[in-house]
């Protein structure tokens, strides 16, 4: 701790092993970006499987996509885009030190996140009721139910892992909101808010890809 004492106005948030706030902030940001790269690779595996099977069983994918509820998907997309906006505004509020605005915006972001999860839950229940969950009880009236089951396997896996990320996001934003309410973040120290923001935007972007891939497959091709 000897050298941190030499820094005249040293920030209480500065950890002992960093020389200064700038180094700490750069390290945190970089760490978050590296983490997001791992996340891209994680989802990438599923996107690859999606691409392969969509190429192999295009007609089945069209049929599966038409069984999706267009409006649930679209409304959820809008909800998430709005949550990204409030998240971006929250990051800005933390940078300029508006504590109340920060807390409010984070809460709104969480509410949007919960709305997304709620709609998703309704949608999942519908699919479950309609035997659109892969396995023994899977049932689909169509020309190629077997490969439509693969579509639904991918649908559940991709949206399921996305929903898990949303859930983690909501919980983390919850923690951040608590600390923001306690006044921990300000112009000098707002790393955690920025990093959670990055994570939140990443999860949104995954959805921005999932939405057209799962809900909006064109069927002109076959016509």
């Amino acid at each position: 701790m000897s050298d941190s004492a030499t820094v005249a106005d040293h920030n209480p948030a500065l950890q002992h092993h960093f020389a200064d706030m700038e180094q700490q902030q750069q390290a945190a940001t970089m760490g978050m970006w590296v983490f997001l790269i791992t996340e891209i690779m994680f989802f990438g595996g599923m996107f690859l499987a999606y691409m392969v099977y969509r190429y192999m069983y295009y007609a089945a994918f069209v049929a599966g996509s038409q069984a999706m509820d267009f409006w649930y998907g679209t409304i959820n997309t809008i909800v998430l885009i709005c949550s990204s906006l409030t998240m971006a505004l929250a990051v800005r509020a933390s940078q300029v030190g508006q504590r109340k605005a920060l807390v409010a915006l984070l809460i709104v972001t969480m509410l949007f996140g919960c709305a997304f999860m709620g709609i998703k839950a309704i949608e999942y229940t519908g699919h479950w009721r309609d035997h659109q969950f892969p396995g023994a009880s899977f049932h689909f009236e169509g020309p190629d139910p077997q490969h439509i089951e693969i579509f639904f396997s991918l649908y559940w896996a991709m949206t399921g892992f996305h929903a898990l990320h949303m859930l983690i996001g909501i919980v983390v934003v919850g923690f951040i909101t608590f600390y923001a309410w306690r006044g921990r973040y300000g112009p000098d120290y707002h790393n955690p808010v920025e990093n959670v923001g990055l994570y939140w935007h990443f999860v949104d972007i995954v959805w921005i890809y999932l939405y057209p891939l799962l809900y909006l497959i064109s069927h002109k091709h076959t016509g």
């Binding site: 499987a49 192999m56 559940w156």
Partner: protein, 542 residues
């Protein structure tokens, strides 16, 4: 050197600063976490080794007589999974890398000390799942989890094993992430990229692979688990799924994983060869470039595990060609180590013996890789004991040699004590002999056509199998020896001063064992790496 503690006088260091179980389990000190890893992976090493011995004993006779077929299948599965995911991958990075990287670059700790501790706990949780799998009867998928065997045809603890590896993977990702950020952001003043020790370069390249590759394995195993639990059909040919897609995804991680295992070992050997030849590493820039090249090309060769799996002819051609490209930087490394010794001043200490062993065995492992990358020849030798011998030469002959050599080299720094030198040399020799006797006959077995994962085999293969089993018992003795005398030396070993080898590098400029924050003053680096030619004593600039 100014900071040498008086003999016998205990300076405050990371080991004696605090005592008690809490001070270890809640530590954020990278050195203590390294020791936690050391204990954990040693435990798993001996579990995996025990399985290996049972495998070799079963193969002593052609008939399957020691254990049942199912038991044998579980033994090689658990041997592979434990050794790969719970020993080899964390070995050098999580133990030696964790301990040394911050010190080598002049930092007080890794960038994210708490995440470092978290990654150890994640590793332990994964390890508990692995132990649960083992104790409740194990899985028998082979470490490769090939579908649809793993998803639809076995009723063993496949999900538990997959979960164990899934969790341990996140520990690996977090370690890699921590190293990348640390190397980028935490270097001491003057420690430029071109002054980094090659050990740091090697671990940096490894971290890139860990961060990019491991998540792909994680999602692949997650999908396998979903197939087993909920009958998803993504890899199930009965439902139109493609088992080759599984293989592509699996090897996309698991081939680069080979480089996760070998690159840090290369880093260790560079340090040892330079120190005991008292020379700057020959062609430093090419050595650094080579590890990065291996990390990058390593991602482009995965399908060379699938030449007979049913991929298209042209895909096979491309992957074979790329596999030869990745062989070039490996060759560069061997030539450079050899050239480093030229006109050196070489001493035959234990770490140097391990480095000799590494270069020799890695050369053989690497050259037999050329056989396997040759398409027409691979058709004959893939999935035989030739492959087993090849990758054990790389992973055991290469990586484990480097790891144990590295432990000897930095033991004075880690423990503050010297290990007994003559016992060290004896163990190194035992391991070298035992290793070759175990694995060399397997090359011949492979070319004769004995397939891998065979519980019983045709009688004409017996003589070579007996040789191999005999070798494995020698190898086992060789591995137990260091554990015994390392433990002994912690109490009775000669006290080490801060630089017992006269080595270059920042880690040798602080006390042994180092203080909690590694340096009393943050060092400022004004010299190149491996400055053995300059003044023996390199003062720490203030």
């Amino acid at each position: 050197m100014a900071a040498i503690p008086l003999p016998g006088a205990e300076h405050e260091n990371y080991l004696n600063k605090e005592y008690g179980i809490r001070s270890w389990l809640l530590t954020t000190d990278h050195k203590r976490i390294a020791l936690l890893y050391l204990l954990s992976i040693t435990f798993f090493f001996f579990i995996g080794g025990f399985f290996a011995l049972l495998i070799r004993l079963e193969l002593l006779t052609p008939a399957g007589d020691l254990v049942q077929a199912d038991t044998y299948n579980k033994l090689f599965t658990m041997h592979g999974q434990v050794m790969v995911f719970f020993f080899l991958i964390p070995a050098v990075p999580a133990v030696l890398g964790n301990f040394l990287i911050p010190i080598m670059i002049g930092a007080k700790d890794l960038a994210f000390p708490r995440i470092n501790l978290l990654s150890w706990y994640i590793f332990i949780i994964g390890g508990c799942f692995m132990l649960y799998t083992i104790l409740t009867g194990g899985a028998d998928t082979g470490w490769t989890f090939y579908t649809p065997l793993s998803t639809s045809f076995l009723d063993t603890h496949v999900v538990a094993a997959a979960v164990a590896i899934f969790i341990a993977g996140f520990s690996s990702i977090l370690t890699g992430l921590n190293f990348i950020v640390t190397v980028h952001r935490m270097r001491a003043p003057g420690m430029t990229w071109s002054r980094l020790p090659l050990f740091v370069w090697a671990n940096y390249a490894t971290s890139i692979i860990q961060v990019l590759g491991t998540p792909v394995l994680a999602i692949t195993l997650a999908l396998v688990a979903l197939e087993r639990l909920f009958h998803f059909g993504i890899f199930d040919p009965q439902k139109g799924g493609d088992p080759l897609l599984f293989q592509h995804l699996f090897w996309f991680y698991s081939h680069p994983a080979v480089y996760i295992m070998i690159l840090p070992g290369m880093g260790v050997v560079s340090e040892i060869v330079a120190c005991f030849s008292r020379k700057r590493v020959f062609g430093y820039k090419f050595m650094a470039l080579a590890v990065i090249a291996i990390a990058v090309f390593g991602f482009l060769v995965w399908a060379h595990h699938m030449f007979v799996a049913g991929i298209s002819l042209y895909a096979a051609l491309v992957f074979s060609l790329l596999s030869y490209l990745v062989a070039v930087p490996s060759a560069i490394k061997v030539f450079n180590w050899t050239a480093t010794m030229y006109k050196g001043s070489i001493s035959y200490t234990t770490p140097m013996l391990y480095a000799f062993g590494f270069i020799g065995l890695f050369t053989m492992g690497g050259l037999t890789g050329l056989f396997l990358a040759a398409l027409g020849l691979d058709v004959h030798v893939t999935d035989t004991y030739f492959v087993i011998a090849h990758f054990h030469y790389i992973m055991v002959g290469g990586m484990v040699m480097a790891y144990i050599g590295g432990l000897h080299f930095w033991w004075p720094k880690i423990s503050g004590r010297m290990y007994p030198e003559s016992w060290g040399r004896l163990a190194a020799l035992t391991i070298f002999i035992g290793f070759n006797l175990t694995f060399f006959p397997q090359f011949i077995l492979g070319y004769l056509g004995m397939p891998r994962r065979y519980w019983q085999y045709s009688p004409e293969y017996q003589v070579l199998n007996v040789l191999s089993t005999a070798g494995s018992t020698i190898l086992a003795v060789g591995y137990v020896l260091p554990m015994v005398y390392f433990l002994w030396s912690m109490r009775y070993g000669k006290v080490a001063d801060e630089n017992p080898w006269g080595a270059a590098g920042l880690e040798w400029m602080t006390a042994s064992p180092p203080p909690t924050f590694n340096f009393d003053e943050t060092p400022e680096v004004t010299w190149e790496a491996y400055n053995y030619g300059e003044a023996k004593e390199v003062p720490v600039e203030r």
